[in-house]
Symmetry: C2
Subunit: 303 residues, 2 copies
């Protein structure tokens, strides 16, 4: 059990943030959450935390403020917008940012906070809602030694792997985007492969079994293909997440004058899925786009 | 140890065929190999096998003939060309074809052999030279019950996994191509990701370590990225293999009216590598293409 407990705020109680907040409560931390939704605030209160509808109320007087929102714009609003947390954070406290964003955006936010003597830890997370709830996330973190020291006890509770990627804010975000490039391409490749197998009228269960034990396997192939086999596109991770993340990857690549044809092609397939009305469905829905374009029959299709 | 031994021919003693032939010798089989190269024939003879420079001399009177060549054209030559094996194979014997080829080509060859009462097992292999040498290949096989029965004792020696994909020749080739689609895309994605990381001046060793433990991992990422980190492009599997295999994938996709943008984009990168003179280098060389196109510095580059 974690002994080094204290007061922490968790801003943003979505599927990731709520799991993180409840994990912290379970480990003896005094947790104040913030979310616009009354029902998720209620969840956290039932679990033993406090909950507010504005960020500064939750963050007030807390040495660690964890921001579990989606992008740079939301992070900036939490910090410096109306009822933002920056003004109420004491020098020496730390803002831990889990959002996926451009490395340049990270560096700009970190600089503004550090002017005030508040530390900034660039700490994108990976692992999904289930691992957020169990405290087994993987964190790709960069920041000053002081930021790491101050955030360390919280990270030790919420993650089973904390990768320290140096003292430059933005490195965490950069490595996270490299991971998202690969993850996004692998999901699209898995869908291209399985839909082609369906078009060739192969036994899809057999294909899945063979590939899992072969050189064509990937973490995403193993994880997402069962959704295709079951014909179940209930969102565990939605198409629109990779519309966003591969969009950021392409922004980074373009800014760096780096041609990235694989992730560019993958992004087109996520855009096609979103454009066809599947933006909020599971990202394995790309297989349905391939099937629509080719006439392949997938499990769960009307025949 | 394998008890059910007999007489087997191995046609084609490249890095895969020679390993397979020596594994069979080691397990007590009477092995006759065939290759145009005198030096590899010498290797097999030293290991305890016989070796010939024409296929029919090796296959004569053997109940199992294993063909370990590269493509459909070579397989057809071995069967029906000058000094081909088909005329000398007794009814009830089996021809085991390991080459990667179009499913239609498999079915045409199988039909021609079956007219003569000779069985055909469509049996593409996966695992690389190291697993060929140790008898740990993975085989994706389809064919009649008789073909499986006759080839079974040989497959049990050379492979640790034999996937039975039904009685229709061509299913083995099809599943192998689905695997190659994924493997080829994953290598290209790994190279795109690592070269972009290099362009962003990230710590490449740290990126490799983080991704291996994250959702962006793939079998190929784990296997090929060390070549990039060491700057060593000595071919373990050459660029031109995926020029061929993703070419076949695109042929299959086009024939099936199936749009396959991910594997199409990956093929362009293998073509670029081959066009730039790296066709016989390791397929991790795609990272060098990305680096040349973007100005990224990879390990081993002159600075």
């Amino acid at each position: 059990m974690q002994q080094n407990t204290g007061k922490v705020a968790v801003i943003g109680l979505g599927s990731m943030g709520l799991g993180i907040a409840k994990t912290l409560v379970r480990n003896g931390w005094d947790v104040a959450g913030c979310d616009l939704s009354a029902s998720v605030r209620e969840h956290l209160i039932e679990a033993g935390g406090a909950a507010y509808d504005v960020p500064d109320a939750a963050a007030n007087g807390r040495s660690v403020v964890l921001s579990v929102v989606v992008n740079a714009r939301q992070t900036e609003t939490i910090l410096f917008g109306e009822n933002g947390v920056a003004d109420g954070m004491a020098p020496g406290s730390v803002f831990v940012s889990c959002a996926t964003m451009l490395p340049d955006a990270v560096r700009a936010l970190a600089a503004r906070l550090e002017e005030r003597g508040v530390h900034y830890l660039d700490a994108p997370i990976s692992g999904g809602a289930k691992k957020a709830a169990s405290g087994d996330l993987s964190v790709m973190a960069s920041g000053t030694a002081e930021a790491f020291e101050c955030a360390g006890p919280v990270l030790a509770v919420i993650a089973d792997k904390v990768h320290s990627l140096g003292d430059r804010p933005g490195a965490g975000a950069s490595v996270k985007m490299i991971n998202q490039l690969l993850a996004g391409v692998h999901i699209a490749a898995a869908c291209e492969a399985m839909a082609l197998a369906a078009k060739m009228e192969l036994d899809l269960e057999a294909v899945y079994k063979v590939i899992r034990g072969s050189a064509g396997n990937s973490w995403m192939f193993e994880n997402r293909v069962p959704h295709i086999l079951e014909g179940d596109y209930t969102p565990l991770s939605a198409v629109e997440i990779f519309v966003k993340d591969l969009g950021i990857v392409q922004d980074i690549a373009r800014t760096n004058h780096f041609p990235a044809p694989l992730s560019a092609a993958a992004l087109q397939m996520y855009l096609a899925a979103a454009g066809a009305g599947m933006g909020k469905d599971d990202d394995a829905s790309l297989a349905r786009v391939y099937a629509q374009l080719s006439g392949a029959q997938l499990p769960g299709d009307d025949t």
